[in-house]
Each structure stands twice: as structure tokens, then as C-alpha cells.
């Protein structure tokens, strides 16, 4: 009779088939399908003006009235660069955000918006080039060609559907509920817990702002366009920051980072950790979402629901919304007790 091999010695990761096949986690076709429309749209918007650049008037017609006649113009270079930048932001931004560990429903929103807005803009880019082609001055430009607009509308719907569908094979995240007493960590165990809380509202707000960016790049008459585009992109960045918070708890303290960019972040050393509790966070009690500073409390809030409340020895209190706050609290409490034990004996 032979003894089963010691699993501690038998390290996973050695001599395993599949190691040399990158991207086996999710099928490559799905990964490509997710970003196919945004990539094509960005490429179209960047490349389409180049071959016909010399045949466009300067300034170029950039806004059309409801009757179909052009009623606004922009310097040619501004028009080309502005649209290229906006397509790049609305197409690539959400795709990059969706590469992170976002829950499935949020990835669907991100990739649907990326595909829809970038394809819509790229189509309108092509249509406005067609209308301006070979016009001696901008006010001689024709109406936007209906066939191009029709194709654009169809492909836009298709791009949204493909983005939403292709994102559906991501792992989803189910918030767990644990009480601090059930964690099973004894003081002195060198354990690390790491978790997140994410907000559907933050993602939707960010994507809403990006959609405003896309539309204002074409719909708003020339003068206000740059201002609106810059403002809407800034709003999207702020809203994106509120999409997620990640918390790490270890023997040396606790660190929280906000948003997909990992900034801003806050660290509380274990020596500074006082009482640890869980609470049901209600955003309006802290004045809303995001990084809130109210007297005596700093709060990182991305949603309503379970959160961790850490009384700091400095007198301030840190509140962080986090899924499975009970487990986070149990682990932090164990580390705090271990730290107190070592400092009181030495």
C-alpha cells in the first residue's frame, strides 16, 4: 500500500499541460469578439479622413441642420483630430476598464457602450466626409448620405448586442455574508483577506457621461463642442473612480483603493487600528458616494449595504463599503488582537 503523494510538495504549476496556451481562461474568440467593433470603429475614424484629406474644404462642414443642409463648420484639422480623439476615448476607455475583474453585468454595460458609441461615431465620421467630399467651401457640402446613416444605425445596434453578449462568459461575483465570529482565524495566523465592492451606478454614470461625449462631439454646434467633450470625459473619469473599491487586510494593516485606476488609496497600519465593526452603510448619511469627509469620519462609499467601520487611534474613523464585510472584520480583528498581545508583552 502506497501513501498518497504529499500535496504540499506536489506544487501545482509544474509539468501542467496548457501552460503554453495563453488565453485559455476565456476563449480567444470571445475576447476578440468583445473588442472587435470598438477596434474597427477606432481604426475607421482614424484612417478614413487620410486618403481624402486633400479633397475636403477648410473649414469643413461639421454640423447639419434638421433640413439636411450644413449649418456649422470647424477648421479641418480640429474636426479630424476631435472626432478621432473622441472615438478613441469612447471605444478604448470602457474596453480597458472591462479588462479588470469587473462583475459580469458591469462588463456587459462597459462593452455594450464601447461598441455602440464608437461605431455610431465612426459611421457619422464617414458620412460627414462623404458630404464634404469635393465641396469648394463648407456651405456647399451635401446632406449626410442616408444610406450611410442607415448602415451606421444597423451596425451600431449589432455592436451593442455583440458587446453585451460576448461579455457574458465572465465569472460573476456573488457577495458572501459571514459574521466576524465565523471567520476561523486565530490571532497570530498570518492570513491576508482581499475583497471588493462594486457599484452598478458608478459604471452606468461613467458610461452615460461617455455617451454624452460621443453625441456632443457631433450634435452640439461648433463653439460649445470642445468644452462639452472635455467636461463629459472628465465626468466619466470621476464616475469611473466610483465604480469599485478594493480592500486588503493583512497582519500589518489594511489598505483600500478606489476605482479602476487604484487611486486614491488609503492605508491604516495595524498599530493605528482601534475598534472594528461592520455596519449597513447608507450613502446619504455620509453625504453621497465616493471619498466622503464628514466630521470625524472618512468614508469610501460606492454603494449602499455592508461596510467595515474602523476606529483609528488617531481619533478618526474610516468607513469602507465592502462585500462580505464580516470576513474582513473578523480577519482584521484577529490581527489587531495579535498585535496588541505582542506590544503588551514586550
Amino acid at each position: 500500500v502506497t501513501r498518497p503523494p504529499d500535496r504540499g510538495v506536489d506544487r501545482p504549476g509544474v509539468d501542467r499541460p496548457g501552460v503554453d496556451r495563453p488565453g485559455v481562461d476565456r476563449p480567444l474568440a470571445r475576447r476578440l469578439a468583445e473588442v472587435a467593433f470598438p477596434v474597427l470603429a477606432v481604426a475607421t475614424a482614424l484612417i478614413a479622413p487620410l486618403p481624402v484629406f486633400a479633397r475636403l474644404p477648410d473649414p469643413v462642414a461639421a454640423h447639419w441642420g434638421l433640413g439636411g443642409a450644413p449649418d456649422g463648420a470647424l477648421p479641418l484639422v480640429v474636426d479630424v483630430v476631435l472626432l478621432a480623439v473622441v472615438v478613441l476615448v469612447v471605444g478604448a476607455g470602457p474596453c480597458l476598464a472591462a479588462r479588470g475583474a469587473v462583475p459580469r453585468d458591469q462588463a456587459r454595460v462597459l462593452l455594450g457602450v464601447a461598441g455602440g458609441t464608437s461605431v455610431l461615431l465612426a459611421g457619422l465620421r464617414v458620412a460627414s466626409l462623404q458630404a464634404n467630399l469635393d465641396a469648394p467651401t463648407w456651405d456647399a457640402a451635401t446632406a449626410l448620405p442616408g444610406s450611410t446613416l442607415l448602415v451606421t444605425a444597423g451596425v451600431t445596434v449589432l455592436a451593442v448586442l455583440v458587446g453585451v453578449t460576448a461579455a457574458g462568459d465572465r465569472p460573476d461575483r456573488a457577495p458572501a455574508l459571514t459574521s466576524p465570529a465565523d471567520v476561523g482565524v486565530t490571532p497570530g495566523d498570518p492570513v491576508v483577506w482581499s475583497g471588493v465592492a462594486s457599484s452598478r451606478g458608478g459604471v452606468i454614470a461613467a458610461m452615460g457621461a461617455l455617451s454624452v461625449t460621443a453625441l456632443s462631439a457631433l450634435v452640439v454646434p461648433a463653439e460649445g463642442r470642445l468644452v462639452l467633450v472635455v467636461a463629459a470625459v472628465a465626468a466619466a473619469a470621476v464616475a469611473a473612480t466610483l465604480g469599485q473599491v478594493r480592500l486588503t487586510v493583512g497582519p500589518a494593516g489594511v489598505t483600500a483603493r478606489l476605482g479602476w485606476f487604484g487611486w486614491p488609496r488609503v492605508h491604516v497600519p495595524i498599530a493605528d487600528v482601534g475598534e472594528v465593526r461592520i455596519e449597513q452603510v447608507v450613502p446619504y448619511e455620509y453625504g453621497g458616494w465616493g471619498w466622503r469627509l464628514v466630521p470625524g469620519v472618512s468614508a469610501i462609499i460606492v454603494r449602499r449595504g455592508p461596510g467595515l467601520r474602523i476606529a483609528r487611534r488617531t481619533g478618526r474613523t474610516l468607513v469602507v463599503t465592502i462585500d462580505d464585510a464580516g470576513r474582513a472584520a473578523g480577519v482584521l480583528e484577529a490581527h489587531r488582537e495579535a498585535y496588541r498581545a505582542t506590544t503588551s508583552t514586550s
Binding site: V1, T2, R3, P4, P5, R7, G8, D10, R11, P12, G13, V14, R16, G18, V19, R21, P22, V24, D25, R26, L96, R99, G100, A101, R170, P171, A176, G188, D189, P190, V191, V192, W193, S194, G195, V196, R246, T248, V249, G250, P251, A252, G253, V254, T255, R257, G262, R265, H267, D323, D324, R327
Partner: protein, 116 residues
């Protein structure tokens, strides 16, 4: 969510203890495929080690095919690693059961051969 147990004995270099904790968490099903490990800087801060120690552990894990490392995205656990861990667990269970029934390795091998 990721739950890592570092080797409490303090044996071996620090980066090896961190990598070992991730390997164990995968083998025990504590982390699922697609799970993002803590950012290197956060883990370093909360464990009380240098960030380069954590980065070295993550690079070792990447070289083993356990995690994917991408800039701006951090370290994510790969599906293939989780599948392999589960297969190993099943193999261990099979051998343990065979041992309990008094079967030799040759008997188990014959059993497997008979159904291939």
C-alpha cells in the same frame, strides 16, 4: 475575494512564502478562476514586506502558469490553474481511497487503463 494563508513557520524566503500561500489558496479552492489577487503594493503594505518581494512572488506564479500578470490589471488566477488543482485533488482522493481498500498502485493503473 481572495483569502491567503502565509506559511506561519517563517520557513524559506519571504517571496516563496507568499507564492506558496497563493498556490495553497488555489489548490484549496479559496480563490476562483478570474479572481484578482491583491495589488502588489497593497499586499506588501498589509503584510509588511517590500513591494519587490510581492512582485517576485507574482512573477514566479506567472512563470508557473498559475496567474496572468497584466499591467494596470494586476494578477488574475487562470482557469487552467484551478482546473489542474481540482484534477490533482481528484487524483489524490482516488489514491487515498485505493489505499484504504488495500489496492496497489498497479491495481489503480490497471483500473485507469481499462477505461481508456
Amino acid at each position: 475575494m481572495a483569502f491567503l494563508r502565509l506559511d506561519p513557520d517563517g520557513g524559506g524566503p519571504l517571496h516563496e512564502r507568499i507564492a506558496g500561500a497563493v498556490r495553497r489558496a488555489v489548490a484549496d479552492g479559496e480563490v476562483v478562476a478570474g479572481e484578482t489577487l491583491p495589488a502588489a503594493r497593497d499586499l506588501a503594505e498589509t503584510v509588511g514586506v517590500n513591494v519587490n518581494t510581492v512582485l517576485r512572488a507574482y512573477r514566479d506564479l506567472r512563470d508557473e502558469g498559475l496567474v496572468e500578470l497584466r499591467r494596470g490589471r494586476g494578477a488574475t488566477v487562470r482557469q487552467v490553474a484551478v482546473d489542474q488543482a481540482r484534477l490533482r485533488q481528484l487524483a489524490d482522493d482516488l489514491l487515498a481511497e485505493a489505499a484504504r481498500l488495500g489496492l496497489s498502485r498497479a491495481d489503480v493503473r490497471a483500473l485507469l487503463e481499462a477505461r481508456s
